[in-house]
């Protein structure tokens, strides 16, 4: 069967079971857009290519399937560079197809030419410039294979216009036809190392399971839970791992790091064994590295061996997929005599506020497991910290506007437990991670490593496309919202009913917080104005329902109103208190021992 390169490309995407792609056409990609008309793949027409990339990321994060975006050459391609960098940092499987000028014009500074494979070399797991239409099916198969296996990540396929227009004989490659002699990702961990890890786990007195995004990528939440419950070891979930272990579980300590809660941060600092599972000792978690968890031995499980010893030397470094390694670790613990816990499991029972503020009530099944006696003093210490240093704010003080934490608590309590939350980057992101209760995996979509402002709106749209059965809320800042809000036009046009909560404090809030704390309250270029733009008017102009909320008693009714809308997006402009800061905080470059708690708790620190 003879096809054009363009037809072969779309057919190849169909062969990969792509159900939706996000994109925007242009000159060089024109031939590829023609067969889209006849394809089973849904195409969502975005308003800016960056939106296509973040939508594909949101889709990938909630479905576990690779997100697909398609854009034209030159500016189309460079506009999707940020999502590629974002996906690379957060290990999100993405396949981006870019148009390119004809092969005869490459290198001539042709109209809308950019060297996108060169530009994205350092921010993709791999990229391909196709020069022969006959290569298209094989390269597409290779691209999906590379994006989704090993440590997942974004890939890019650059398709020159003449290649898309030329004829090829259709085929679909077998796995053995893939030409990737240098690509052999590890999956299973070394049994000898896993046994060593198990021995360290049974000997530890102050262990912490340090769960990272790799748990979610490996779909290892169940295994993590079994490991925690059988060993009785508490779990911290990093920003990328929120939801991988239920916040309501008595062993969950919540988020560590720069804005982590006191107990999670300090548990790691005082620990004698960190079991890092798919986490990478990011600087936002470790604080000053040479002062990080000084007494801890480290077991580091990561599918990417290059993460081992990169930041912190591991005592036992296991290269492998988290799910497989956790299973093997449970087997090794069996072999070393760790008894099986009662099948009645703790967790899921506590009210939302218990998980955040209350002391963990250790479930019977957990307490009965073997390391119980050794770990009880440790758990008692953690429980004491949780009692003394809960996350706090002053809900009574509404003089400066709504408390963002109060808005988030109300939103959390008024939405289904499996609601998907997307966020941008800044104070609102940290507040959301702190105050939401994540009890289900794949319900938190955010930009962790790259810290991309403007991520929330398009990521929420992509998430809703991937999980139309779920309620999807974006928690956004006013600064972030202005970067990518135009994608709400896409959402309205495509009837994708996402809901956006703007925590509008009229500032670039996180920068303002740093200027207040570290630059002597000299506020440089951070004021944005609460009324410019008029968010309600803007939302309505984009086909959304727009609601403004200024007083605390309007918060819950506005959320209920938003939840009742399911035929279009809703934007709520919550006027929040600009003076509210995110605490706790470990200042950049400081040791995690120098954690700054809420001023009301400062006297509690030793």
């Amino acid at each position: 069967m003879e096809l054009t390169g363009a037809q072969a490309l779309i057919k190849s995407l169909e062969m990969q079971q792509v159900e939706v792609m996000f994109g925007l056409p242009g000159g060089a990609i024109l031939p590829v857009y023609d067969p889209i008309i006849d394809s089973s793949i849904r195409h969502i027409l975005v308003r800016h290519e960056q939106g296509a990339g973040h939508m594909a990321e949101g889709y990938a994060q909630v479905t576990g399937r690779p997100g697909v975006a398609i854009v034209t050459s030159g500016p189309g391609a460079t506009n999707i560079v940020t999502p590629l960098a974002d996906a690379y940092m957060d290990s999100i499987p993405l396949v981006v197809v870019t148009g390119q000028v004809a092969t005869s014009s490459i290198g001539s500074d042709a109209f809308q030419e950019s060297d996108i494979t060169g530009i994205t070399m350092g921010i993709t797991k791999h990229n391909w410039l196709i020069t022969d239409a006959g290569d298209i099916p094989r390269v597409v198969a290779e691209a999906f294979h590379v994006a989704t296996t090993g440590r997942p990540g974004p890939v890019l396929i650059d398709v020159p216009k003449d290649v898309a227009q030329s004829a090829m004989e259709w085929y679909w490659p077998q796995p053995s036809d893939l030409d990737l002699p240098g690509y052999r990702p590890v999956t299973e961990g070394d049994p000898a190392l896993i046994r060593q890890a198990a021995e360290l786990i049974l000997a530890a007195e102050r262990p912490v399971l340090y769960a990272g995004g790799g748990i979610l990528k490996a779909r290892a939440s169940e295994g993590l839970r079994e490991l925690a419950e059988r060993t009785g070891i508490p779990v911290v979930t990093t920003l990328m791992a929120r939801g991988s272990f239920p916040d309501s579980h008595p062993l969950c300590l919540g988020m560590p790091g720069m804005h982590g809660n006191y107990t999670a941060v300090t548990a790691m600092q005082r620990s004698d064994l960190l079991i890092a599972l798919g986490s990478r000792f990011d600087d936002r978690v470790t604080g000053r590295v040479d002062a990080f968890a000084p007494e801890a031995k480290v077991v580091h499980v990561d599918i990417d061996p290059a993460e081992h010893h990169k930041v912190r030397r591991a005592d036992v470094a296991i290269a492998g997929d988290c799910r497989s390694v956790i299973d093997d670790l449970l087997g090794a613990l069996d072999a070393l005599g760790l008894p099986h816990a009662d099948t009645t499991r703790g967790g899921r029972g506590g009210s939302p506020s218990d998980a955040v503020e209350g002391a963990p009530a250790v479930a019977g099944s957990v307490a009965d497991s073997l390391p119980r006696h050794r770990l009880s003093p440790w758990r008692a210490t953690l429980s004491d910290w949780q009692t003394r240093f809960p996350l706090v704010y002053d809900p009574a003080d509404t003089s400066g506007g709504l408390k963002p934490q109060m808005v988030l608590e109300t939103l959390r309590d008024a939405t289904p437990d499996d609601t998907i939350v997307a966020s941008g980057v800044g104070q609102h992101q940290m507040f959301a991670s702190q105050w939401w209760q994540f009890d289900y995996p794949y319900t938190w979509v955010n930009s962790g490593g790259l810290g991309t402002m403007g991520f929330a709106v398009p990521a929420a749209i992509g998430a809703k496309v991937g999980r139309p059965d779920r309620t999807v809320w974006a928690v956004d800042g006013d600064g972030c919202f202005q970067m990518t809000a135009q994608e709400l036009v896409t959402a309205s046009a495509e009837r994708i009913p996402v809901k956006i909560a703007i925590l509008n404090n009229a500032y670039l809030g996180m920068v303002r917080q740093w200027q207040e704390m570290f630059y002597g309250e000299r506020y440089s270029e951070v004021y944005l104005s609460p009324d410019l733009p008029d968010y309600v008017g803007w939302a309505e102009a984009m086909g959304c329902v727009g609601i403004r909320v200024e007083s605390p008693d309007e918060v819950a009714p506005a959320i209920d109103k938003a939840n009742a809308v399911d035929d279009r997006p809703v934007v709520i402009d919550f006027r929040t208190d600009a003076a509210e800061k995110v605490f706790p905080m470990v200042a950049a470059g400081s040791s995690n021992d120098q954690i700054v708690v809420d001023p009301s708790q400062a006297k509690e620190i030793r």
């Binding site: 002699p181 240098g182 061996p305 290059a306």
Partner: protein, 187 residues
């Protein structure tokens, strides 16, 4: 004192890569992005046209060797990486130099080239272009000795290396990091 580039800071990596467009750029871009220093680099196709071999001398002051190797290994077109310690490998480099050699000094220069088993490949009125292949330390010595005559231009290729042949029964003892290279067609 060991010759420049042969001390403990410097390690030779021989990297088998797919012979495809842009692979050298990927390797170079990785070094640049991660802040690793390249001391020298030589690249050419192998006897198997599917692969090229890049011989990189890296400076491990900038990053631990382990990190450099693992990050290189993540590049999809990198097929295998082998570290070649000088003690168990054969390293060679090529040097071309145009040396001032007035008629009265020409004999001395020619004699020196002879001692080092080099070759005169071009002769001018008052200079010579000489070629010398050998171990990097030998080239260092030669460079030192001819400097006194006046070097007009000098170019070295950067070293290439292969593992020293093991005469014991076990041929698999080469210090292979990552995974073993695919069997190359017998030349």
């Amino acid at each position: 004192m060991p010759a420049y580039g042969t001390d403990k800071r410097h390690h030779t990596l021989t990297v088998l890569v797919e012979n495809k467009a842009g692979v050298l750029a990927r390797v170079a871009s990785l070094f640049s992005r991660r802040g690793y220093n390249i001391f020298s680099l030589a690249v050419a196709p192998t006897n198997d046209e599917r692969f090229s071999r890049i011989t990189i001398v890296v400076d491990v002051e900038s990053a631990p060797l382990d990190q450099i190797v693992k990050q290189l290994d993540k590049l999809i077109p990198v097929v295998s990486i082998t570290e070649l310690p000088p003690s168990s490998s054969r390293e060679r480099e090529l040097l071309l130099a145009t040396v001032r050699a007035t008629p009265e000094l020409r004999g001395q220069v020619i004699q020196l080239v002879g001692v080092f088993e080099g070759k005169i490949i071009d002769v001018g009125l008052d200079c010579l272009t000489v070629m010398l292949a050998g171990a990097p330390t030998k080239l260092d010595d030669f460079e030192d000795l001819i400097r006194g005559y006046g070097i007009i231009e000098l170019q070295r290729t950067g070293r290439v290396a292969l593992p020293m042949l093991d005469r014991s029964a076990d041929r698999t003892s080469a210090n292979v990091l990552g995974f073993a290279p695919p069997t190359e067609k017998a030349g």
